[in-house]
């Protein structure tokens, strides 16, 4: 069996330990940075994604054109329905405002 004895040029053990600790710190920081980046990116993606319109979080494309058209049509229908509801609501509010008797200052 042959053992390798460190030569005089090899770095000192305590220095090696120090360097190892420094590397570990950098690795830990890199890991934290990765976790933070993934977290922040996911948060931004969730905020920007319109799930009601058929959007997906991590896949922005569609595998099937028909599927895309259906999703677009449904999103358009939902949008139209929302606009119509808003218009009706506005109409009702304007009628109610018109019907409310004015109260003048005494």
């Amino acid at each position: 069996m042959v053992d390798t004895v460190p030569t005089a040029d090899a770095p000192d053990a305590s220095l090696q330990l120090k360097a190892q600790k420094r590397r570990n710190l950098w690795l830990a920081l890199a890991l934290v940075a990765f976790v933070v980046t993934v977290g922040v990116t996911t948060a931004v993606r969730i905020q920007e994604t319109d799930f009601s319109g058929g959007d997906r979080l991590y896949f922005s494309g569609y595998l099937d054109e028909v599927e895309k058209e259906q999703a677009d049509r449904k999103a358009a229908e939902r949008y139209e329905a929302m606009r119509a509801e808003e218009a009706t609501q506005a109409q009702v509010e304007s009628i109610e405002t018109a019907e409310t008797p004015e109260t003048g200052d005494e």
Binding site: T4, A10, Q16, T37, V40, T41, V44, R45, S60
Partner: protein, 319 residues
Amino acid sequence: MSVEMTAEPATPKLATAGDYVQLLKPRIMMLVVFTALAGLVAAVGVTGQEINLVLATVAILSVALGSGAAGAINMWYDADIDAIMTRTSTRPIPSGAVPKDEALTMGLIMSAVSVLLMWIASNVLAAGLLALSIAYYGWFYTMVLKRRTAQNIVIGGAAGAFPPVIGWAAVTGTTPLDAWILFAIIFFWTPPHFWALSLVAHKEYAKAGVPMLPVTNGAKATRNQILIYTLILAPIGLAPLLTGLGGWVYGAVGVALTLGFIYFAAKVWRSEAGEADAGDAERKLAMGMFAFSIFYLFGLFAALIIERGFGLYFPLGGL
């Protein structure tokens, strides 16, 4: 049990943070990041599609990580020939600062992280293209092409040409003609750029047994190829003017840089650069062309960023 005094081939030394940075080939990374940014900015400018600043930053960071990962894998595989060549013998692995296995592990982990981050920040297409470009450089160019064919730089050049396409795909989820024009510019720029350097470093490549063009076909053939590829690159570099990707700023910068590139290529072609009896002037000329080629690429993509990113786009057809 016997004890034998043996010195390691490369005496282990304590690795510094700088050694790990060197492992990522930072100069190549800068060029990669810059061209990816240009693709991203151009995509926003051309299509009008927007990308959140945080997501854009993470996408560019992913490209940088991917480039570094491919660089680390390249250094892991090429450690034997790097030790032979003077120019590369001080790199972290041959100098004994970073163990080979550590470099490979780092490269593989960074590859996975970069692709994952790109996917999270943008879309599957951009992440897929990033994975493809890492594999293209880290495996196809490094392990298959580099030691087998003199066309290594030509075919392998595609690896460095992907970044603007990735940047474009990160914004739009598509890769239209404009994105592939940017790809073609880098693809046809790589051979004259790298061969200019290899005219100076050909003895080193010969020593390491790497079949670079000056080693296999001689200096004259290399100078011919430099001129041919430069003449092919000239119209491709100006192609963004035809599609409307580039406007007046790009046109002015592009024409000036293209003429400069042709001037250098013609001078190198007429010189004795790379020959056994070539003097210092020839060496300087080849290195001058190498430096100008970097300036050329930075200039073209900077013009694109200025036009599309700072609202200075004035279409050629509009005047």
